[in-house]
């Protein structure tokens, strides 16, 4: 097993490394060959580096970090993602749990859940901007909406999929409804709730990039990208994209870790080992 993992790691490093080297070569050639003047809609954009070489990327990174723009943007955007995640999950998970446990509530809410499920959360942006103003609230509510729908469905499905035999076993051992909810339904549904949270976290990052264009103010990754796009400054765009990518990667790793801890008790199928 150990040798297998070493080979995987080696191959992963090799392919990522090859990609990095290829980009380096392409950007060196590109900066010589690619046009620096680009016609866009009604005017020329000057001095565009379509493939910024590592040198410019490094300079840009250093500048963005030293000026404090990047660190502060990362903090602000990450905070929004997690506030939205917490709020959305706090609404979605209990709602999903109760829908799965109460048939009448489920019937009543079903059309609305379906409605929100097929409404792209981003479409709510102009409405939220109108209702909740152009401040922090709209941004966080938008993320929370996207998260709530996903976690609601995850929690609902998680409870629905609890094998009947566990519920019956608990009941025949004399467990009350409350005990069954706490000790059977909740832990049995938790893995699905966690995987829905993982999906929701990815979605929250997708949403934040756009949500931050509501009354865009500066420390924020979404506006950093938009601003860099408007100039345009490709090194800034690239650093922004890479930063968001790394943040998503890190969040996903954390979510995966939480999932692994929460499902320690589960049998792993050999295919996933």
């Amino acid at each position: 097993m150990n040798g297998l993992w070493r080979r995987r790691l080696w191959r992963a490093l090799l392919s990522v490394g090859a990609l990095a080297v290829l980009y380096g070569i392409a950007s060196e050639i590109g900066s010589a060959l690619l046009p620096r003047r680009i016609w866009m809609v009604a005017h020329y954009l000057e001095d565009v580096e379509l493939l910024p070489p590592y040198r410019s990327l490094l300079e840009e990174t250093v500048f963005l970090i030293q000026s404090g723009i990047l660190p502060r943007s990362v903090l602000v955007s990450t905070a929004r993602v997690f506030e939205g995640l917490a709020l959305g999950a706090a609404v979605g998970v209990p709602l999903g749990l109760s829908m799965a446990r109460a048939a009448r509530l489920e019937c009543l809410l079903d059309p609305w859940v379906t409605f929100f499920r097929f409404t792209p959360a981003l479409a709510l942006l102009p409405l939220y901007a109108l209702w909740f103003g152009l401040g922090e609230l709209s941004k966080i509510l938008l993320i929370a909406t996207a998260v709530a729908v996903v976690t609601l469905l995850g929690a609902y499905q998680g409870v629905r999929d609890v094998p009947r035999v566990y519920l019956e076993a608990a009941k025949s051992l004399g467990a009350s409804k409350g005990l069954i909810l706490r000790k059977i339904v909740w832990p049995a549904a938790l893995p699905q709730i966690f995987s829905s949270l993982r999906i929701a976290l990815g979605l929250a990052w997708v949403t934040v990039v756009v949500a931050e264009l509501i009354k865009a103010t500066m420390p924020s990754l979404g506006y950093l990208l938009a601003l860099a796009g408007a100039y345009p400054r490709v090194p800034t765009i690239a650093v922004g994209i890479v930063t968001i990518g790394l943040l998503v990667l890190a969040c996903d790793a954390v979510a995966l870790g939480c999932y692994a801890v929460a499902t320690r008790w589960m049998k792993r199928s050999p295919a996933h080992a």
Partner: protein, 303 residues
């Protein structure tokens, strides 16, 4: 193991309850949104005063009017030269932006995204699920790219492709691609594997193995991936159109292109609600289509 099948009410009752819930809420909203006609909102305490305005909660009949206007917008006469009214619906009508036209354009973008991104994603998933070497080399790169939100790419893509059709489509294709890879990959690697071994033992190989064993076995997973991809494709399409397209339902929602500056012009909630409801309906219909077609294609699956 049998899943918990709690006593669920019969289907007729479910439908009835759902319908009642929709009717009740719409009726309640109609009453609430028309309350400003009866009570002078300025006499009410503060948070309520701000909310009970038709500019915030458009009366139901206003929403319906907006719907009619948007559907008929293409036919309405354009009065002389283009005048910027600054009014959401007025602007749309002047530009002859119709609801059905916008939906059609967006649907077309979603479908292209699904067709191109979906096939590329299935192909990548098949390759990675099939060959361990491809998996080990390509998976890390896939994970790196998957981590980038498609909408973050749009400004960069536009520099390469210009402000045209392609720069709108690329993020959608990209989004669908990243979503479809993983279910296909798992379908091939974890589910089809045992059948592949069985088929190989029976002497099957090459194209026969692919078309008769791998694809059908992974099929249900590809389909569920596709259903999720549909949701993501709509999300991305609306996002892209709001950010920088000059047509489509996202454009209709914010009443004009080029992001942030437009958002500070007050939108018309009636138009937005019409757009959102239309989006939900089309999304639902497309999902139902995939579901029905999928059920036919994978009839052998135990349900």
């Amino acid at each position: 193991m049998r899943p918990a099948e709690a006593a669920r009410p019969p289907k007729a009752r479910r439908v009835w309850l759902g319908l009642a819930s929709v009717v009740a809420l719409v009726a309640a909203y109609t009453l609430l949104s028309n309350a400003y006609r009866v009570v002078d909102p300025s006499l009410l305490p503060d948070p309520i005063r701000g909310v009970l305005r038709p500019q915030i909660l458009p009366p139901t009949q206003r929403i319906f009017d907006a719907f009619v206007q948007l559907v008929g917008a293409g036919a309405s006469p354009v009065g002389g030269a283009y005048v910027h009214t600054g009014d959401h619906i007025g602007g749309l009508v002047e530009q002859r932006v119709t609801l059905q036209g916008s939906l059609l354009i967006s649907t077309y973008r979603v479908l292209i995204g699904i067709a191109v991104g979906g096939s590329l994603g299935v192909l990548a998933g098949l390759l990675m699920g099939w060959s361990r070497a491809v998996d080990e080399y390509a998976h890390p790169i896939y994970i790196l790219f998957r981590s980038i939100p498609p909408l973050a790419l749009i400004t960069y893509v536009m520099l390469w492709l210009g402000h045209g059709t392609a720069h709108v489509l690329l993020p959608i294709i990209y989004a669908v691609f990243t979503v479809v890879v993983i279910p296909t990959y798992h379908g091939v690697r974890d589910v089809a594997d045992i059948y592949v071994k069985a088929a190989r033992a029976l002497g099957a190989g090459g194209r026969l193995l692919l078309s008769r064993v791998v694809l059908p076995a992974a099929g249900p997973f590809v389909l569920s991936g596709l259903r999720y991809a549909l949701i993501i494709a709509w999300m991305t399409t609306v996002g892209v159109e709001m950010l920088m397209a000059d047509e489509g339902i996202g454009y209709l929602l914010i009443g004009g292109g080029m992001w942030s500056s437009r958002l500070e012009v007050a939108g018309d909630p009636a138009v937005i609600v019409v757009g959102i409801v239309a989006l939900a309906l089309v999304g639902y219909a497309m999902d139902a289509g995939v579901r029905v077609a999928g059920a036919r294609l994978t009839e052998w699956v135990k349900r």
